[in-house]
Amino acid sequence: MKLNVARKDGILIITPQVKRIDANVASDFKSKLIDFLDNGDKIIVINLSKVDFIDSSGLGAMVLILRKIGTDGRIKLCKLKEGVSSIFELTRLDEVFEIHKSEEGALESLKTG
């Protein structure tokens, strides 16, 4: 799975370059995220602006990362499209993840908070 990766003030910004995060790419997504954690990244913003479709395989990958980061680090999601956002709500994962409208908002909240 293609990811765009940027770093700003020690924050890792990951923007998946795919329209769909389903079982076809989820395990690759998961292992790429784990690689970042293993390399010491602890503050991560995932920008989902390119993603039209996510299902439980994609959700599972992100929850695993959230659990792995634990209290050591922080993770924020941003730029969820309507369909994606509604699945976070349905599964109540919107209560578990910190979700921001814009990437700037996510970054700002990590600096101030």
């Binding site: 389903d22 076809n24 299902d55 439980s56 959700l59 929850v63 959230l66």
Partner: protein, 149 residues
Amino acid sequence: MAGESGELMEEIRLTFPRKVAYLRFATSISKQICQQIEECREDKSFASDVELCVSEACTNAIKYGRSGEMEDVISLYFQIFADKLVIKVQDKGSGFNLNNLPDPDIESLPDRGYGLYIIRSKMDDVQYTHTEEGNFLTMIKFFKGDFNV
């Protein structure tokens, strides 16, 4: 699309190898079928709900439906009725008990177990049968405006 309620009007069947790479065949045919049905086009979320559930159900069939047979395949049936769309996902695995599944416990941050919860939330009815021909997960969604059991 006219016809009495309860009357099967059209059926589309797709059979594909039990491999995750074929998941998108299933979701893309699901999108096309919903485009085809006028009743769905009026209900904006119908197609996306169905696509999501087809993705979940086929992912499970691919993950858990290992048959041990040479030809390890998944079949997907779309049955268009006057009042509803019925989707059946067939695998040849050892099956499971749909009624024993708890909803995911969000507090414990599970990284799995969301699939059937999503399916149950989005569909009007979900059934599971184990037959000689394999396991069938049957998902039923009524067109809007019709009665909703």
